[in-house]
């Protein structure tokens, strides 16, 4: 592996000396989200308030490509500036293989805000605080090797270190906490890396893919040192493997998407440890149609099945909210364009029939001209206090994004 990386690096550097084509672009952006109901736990009335600049440098040659995308932002809530390398990678491209080294955004699977085989890190706070959609994804520092054969295309991702998903900040969002009195909290991140493989090809006009992942849960589990008199809570990322598949293609007048995976909870295969998510099966069926010009509708049905449910229920301490064995979620998205596709109305709705969890996100986006656009949207959450969206029931917000691109 190390030799392949070294060889890749050498192959990248040599053609860099050749005549190159570089472009610099970027944007300035203002992004605010105001509470529509209650104040934040920290007493403030905004979920997000920042100005941001992004610079993107892109260079290409016949057999290589480099990209660096960096952000500089001033956060008015934390009253601090921060910088971030969003993506930074180099590619070498050969006839039937290619390699990408560096920080990169990887998206697998077919779901619309439903993630089964997309095991890569996400920023849920960005989604709930009304930031542009691209901020939902976080880059991973990884090597991605693509091999393209008649039989299939293979995409191997190896990351030497683990990057967690970002969950909403407890100062800005009302998060469910079963043990609020315990203030001594530590987070343990995995010392190991992770690997994933995606194999895909066309089968009779359908896009078919297989996915394998060996790594960790992206969101932390919490373990108290004692159930009766806890003094310390440890956040950790349980070991996880995912084995999945997907298929998409035309069906009737629309596009049908099917996706499924088995989540092998390697940290607790028997399901006896209530602090670790049980092994699960996850299934998704989606259908997208275009009933009229500039209008599209998407529907999804998503199910989660807990494999060792009896063991989970037996181990769950009294007073803790229990998940159902089956969880059924339906989602719908409507997208309508107006004014020569310069004005877009998009509405996403999700409802979990098992626990009442619900989320609604209407958004209106307008391109003022070829450089500037703005979006106005609302995030509405509801459900039981311990549900993914239910816990955010007091965090409804109205957000505004304005961007000038250059």
């Amino acid at each position: 592996m190390r030799r392949a990386v070294a060889a890749g690096a050498v192959l990248l550097v040599v053609p860099l000396a050749a005549l190159a084509e570089f472009t610099l672009s970027g944007f300035v952006q203002q992004n605010s989200a105001f509470n529509a109901g209650a104040a934040n736990p920290d007493g403030r009335h905004e979920k997000w308030l920042e100005e941001r600049v992004q610079l993107k440098l892109d260079g290409r040659g016949e057999t290589w490509h480099v990209l660096a995308k960096g952000d500089l932002a001033y956060d008015h809530l934390a009253q601090e500036a921060h910088s971030e390398l969003r993506e930074g990678y180099a590619d070498h491209v050969a006839s039937d293989w290619d390699i990408r080294l560096g920080r990169q955004i990887i998206t697998w699977g077919l779901g619309d805000l439903v993630f089964i085989n997309d095991v890569f890190p996400k920023d849920y706070e960005a989604l709930f605080a009304g930031r542009p959609l691209e901020y939902l994804k976080l880059g991973v520092d990884a090597m991605k090797l693509g091999v393209y054969r008649e039989l299939a295309a293979f995409e191997l991702v190896v990351a030497p270190s683990f990057r967690a998903s970002r969950i909403p900040d407890a100062r800005r969002f009302h998060l469910f906490d079963p043990m609020p009195a315990v203030t001594n909290r530590v987070t343990v991140t995995p010392g190991q890396g992770e690997a994933g493989l995606r194999i895909y090809r066309d089968i009779a006009g359908y896009d078919a893919a297989l996915y394998l992942y060996r790594g960790f849960q992206r969101t932390p589990a919490m373990r108290p040192d004692s159930l009766t008199a806890p003094t310390k809570i440890t956040y950790f990322y349980p070991k996880l493997s995912v084995y999945g598949a997907s298929l998409s293609g035309r069906a009737g007048d629309g596009v049908l998407s099917l996706e499924g995976a088995y989540y092998d909870s390697r940290e607790d295969r028997s399901g006896n440890d209530f602090t670790v998510p049980n092994s699960q099966s996850r299934l998704l069926a989606g259908y997208q149609i275009q009933p009229a010009e500039d209008l599209s509708l998407g529907f999804q049905y998503y199910a989660e099945y807990v494999h060792h449910y009896a063991a989970y229920r037996a181990a769950l301490p009294a007073g803790f909210p229990a998940d159902e064995r089956w969880s059924h979620t339906a989602t719908a998205r409507l997208t309508q364009f107006f004014l020569h596709q310069t004005l877009r109305l998009s509405t996403y709705a999700s409802y979990n029939a098992s626990n009442g969890d619900r989320y609604l996100n209407p958004e209106l986006r307008y391109s003022f001209n070829d450089q500037a656009w703005g979006a106005l949207g609302v995030n509405v959450f509801g459900g039981k206090p311990w549900g993914t969206f239910g816990q955010l029931a007091h965090d409804d917000n109205v957000y505004l994004q304005v961007r000038y691109e250059f």
């Binding site: 490509h65 590619d91 006009g205 293609g249 997208q288 020569h340 596709q341 310069t342 070829d370």
Partner: protein, 262 residues
């Protein structure tokens, strides 16, 4: 013997010209307009201009490859340069004349390839006044054709062909196309709604010889009811470049090869 041959020739000549019916004219026109060469590449600058003159510019590289004879399946690959919010997006279409297209969109911001539903070939292409059908063609079998007359457009002799949809589900009543008798390119087309009112007008504003193929390198589609129009200019157009079939794949949708998208 010689004399008989000559008579035969003289007898056949006008017959052949007159034998061309409306459908044949439109088949030849489609072949000349949308199918020349085995493959095609152009840098396309598309200006969307509203009735007050405000312009929006979409700039892209368009690649096309024919699967077989004119009128058959085609693959399209489109890579966007402008506007900024769609830069680096790429779009792939497998076009089948008699059924719905397969379409895929690559969204670079989240590095995702998405298959998109494409039921309506008469819907707008990237918000312009051109529909997908205007860009990639309409199935010849869907309409009936009559040569109404012959007429000049500028100094070019044209067939004037009326095309009427066979089914009632089309969103237009009929269209009239002025097809150049020499090159078979459409030089002008007017689309009429179901009430018979003219609502869209296509004009070929500039025709040039590109690698031996007469090519419309500047065209305008105007919506006569709203006053909105779209002007399209082909820069760096070329044919028969040897575009490989595997370009039209998820791999290159995610990472378009440098040599094809400049």
């Amino acid at each position: 013997m010689k004399r008989i041959g000559l008579w035969l020739l003289i007898g056949l000549l006008p017959l052949q010209v007159f034998a061309l019916d409306g459908e044949e004219v439109m088949r030849k026109s489609q072949a000349a307009f949308l199918y020349p060469g085995n493959d095609f590449k152009a840098r396309v600058v598309m200006k969307l201009i509203d009735k007050d003159g405000q312009e929006r510019v979409r700039e892209m590289t368009m690649l096309r490859k024919n699967a077989g004879d004119p009128g058959g399946d085609q693959k399209y690959f489109i890579y966007f340069f402008r506007p900024a919010d769609v830069k680096d997006m790429s779009f792939m279409i497998y076009k089948y004349p008699a059924r719905d297209d397969d379409r895929w969109l690559f969204i670079p911001a989240i590095n995702m390839v998405k298959r998109i539903a494409a039921q309506d070939k008469r819907s707008s292409f990237v918000g312009s006044d051109f529909t997908y059908e205007d860009v990639s063609g309409r199935d010849i079998e869907e309409d009936t054709y009559v040569i109404e007359r012959e007429e000049k457009v500028g100094d070019r002799d044209c067939y004037v062909v009326k095309s009427t949809p066979k089914g009632s589900d089309a969103d237009f009543g009929y269209k009239t196309t002025w097809v150049d008798k020499g090159s078979f390119l459409p030089l002008k087309e007017e689309q009429f709604d179901k009430k018979g009112a003219r609502y869209k007008q296509f004009t070929a504003d500039d025709v040039a010889d590109v690698n031996g193929f007469p090519t419309v390198i500047k065209r305008t589609m105007k919506n006569l009811q709203t006053g909105h129009r779209t002007e399209v200019v082909y820069l760096k157009a070329d044919y028969d470049l040897g575009i490989e079939d595997n370009l039209f794949s998820e791999r290159f949708l995610r990472q378009p090869p440098h040599k094809w998208v400049d």
